[in-house]
Amino acid sequence: METRIRLLLLSIAVAACSGCASMHWPWHHPKPDAASTASAGTGDVDAPPPSVIEPQVERRQVKVPKISAKDIELGAYYGELSIQDFGAQPVEGGRLDYHISEDLFVEATYGRAKGGRTSYELLSGNVQLLSDAERRFTYYNLSLGYNLLPGEVFIGRNLAMTSALYMIGGIGNVQFAGDQNFAVNFGAGFRVLPTDWLALHIDVQDIVFKSNDIGIYQLKNNLQATIGATVFF
């Protein structure tokens, strides 16, 4: 019985040893066979390429910071508005511009002035054609502008400022003499930028509308000259 057990254990040990020989242990380095040695020696092009070390470096992820776009101008202006028949009066207003391209921009303006007395009122004494509230001249314009002559302005030797002479035209509304009127505006302006964020403007525009405030329909031309400042953001 004892002899049988010994025989069994011995046969298991022999089988295990023969199995180990076919396994690839880390310390086991098989010798290159003769064929591969020969091909390596002769530089055979059909041989598999030598293995390359795979880089373990991951590609750097760049976080792209947002580039701020300074295409919007916001500001105010002040000047003189010649209200037809009602004299030249101070005008003040605000403007909002959006620059679509280096050539084109859109502009929204809102302005107000107060009409003076007509020549007829001045000459005839105590006649009042319009009430005080009706003399308020308020308008808004939606315009498209074109930078016709972009350029630079130089002050002295060391200071150069970008500038542009632009044409502008649009449509809008005028409230005057207790009435709303569809208006067309057109004109030209000059913009100079002392810094990248500040612009100074000189503008001349004509605001034209049809009115029947004296009983007959008339085309009213209201010329306006203003200076202003805007901030780019």
Binding site: R59, V62, E102, D196
Partner: protein
């Protein structure tokens, strides 16, 4: 004027306060102009392999600072040849047909006619999908009999947003305020709810621009027995961003 000064002080850019984008020049050289326009003279060049920091953008021009601290303006077209630090191409959205088909916001202005009166109108729209837009508009009209304003909100469905000429239909509601001319016997200001439906079309022009025309029928829910029906047509231009 004081308020403007305060505003301008508040708007002064805080240099170095935020991280700047660094771009590496891969073309032979990058030209730097003295101003944001094609006609401004080139006074500096940045050589291949050097980098620039992008300070800000104005329309299609970028104000950049070189490694030597020189500032100048580079065009978007040239800067798209530069790469980021990870080697990928720098991309600039300058507005194209793909943007026309698919964008988040759009706005525009119109001139037209509302029930015989001259109309000025402006609108803004948010794209829910490429086809469906939520639109908000404000209009003012001036007529011989009355003046008025309209404020409306509605939905517009663009049928083929990827087409250069893309038709649309719209439906919405709003309010109308009327101020009859003072020459009428009993001028009474009034406001009424309105509903509208209509059809129109958009036509892509260039960059971010497109033309748009609309024809609408307005039903004004008046306090009298009969509702008022008015027609409106308008034509204008819009831009998307």
């Amino acid at each position: 004027m004081l308020a403007l000064c305060a505003l301008s002080l508040a708007m002064t850019p805080a240099r170095g306060a935020h991280e700047l984008l660094q771009l590496f020049i891969t073309q032979p050289y990058l030209e730097l102009h003295t101003g944001p326009g094609r006609g401004y003279p080139v006074t500096q060049v940045v050589a291949r392999g050097e980098s620039v920091d992008v300070l800000f953008r104005r329309t299609d021009w970028f104000k950049v600072r070189t490694e030597r601290g020189v500032e100048g303006w580079a065009s978007a077209g040239e800067l798209t040849l530069a790469t980021l630090a990870d080697g990928t191409q720098f991309k600039v959205n300058m507005g194209d047909r793909a943007g026309f088909a698919s964008h988040r916001w759009e706005s525009g202005v119109f001139a037209g006619n509302y029930a015989g009166a001259t109309l000025i109108s402006a609108y803004g729209a948010l794209s829910i999908t490429d086809n469906l837009k939520l639109e908000v508009g404000a209009s003012q009209y001036t007529g011989n009999v009355s003046d008025g304003e309209l404020a409306e909100i509605g939905l517009a469905h663009v049928f083929m947003p990827e087409w250069r000429f893309s038709p649309l239909v719209d439906l919405g509601t709003g309010y109308r305020w009327v101020q009859p001319k003072a020459t009428l016997a009993t001028p009474v200001d009034r406001s009424d709810e309105v509903g509208y439906y209509g059809a129109g079309a958009r036509f892509y022009l260039t960059r971010r621009f497109f033309l748009r025309g609309d024809f609408r029928k307005y039903v004004v829910f008046t306090r009298t027995n009969e509702n008022e029906v008015n027609e409106e047509w308008r034509l204008g231009f819009g831009f998307f961003y």
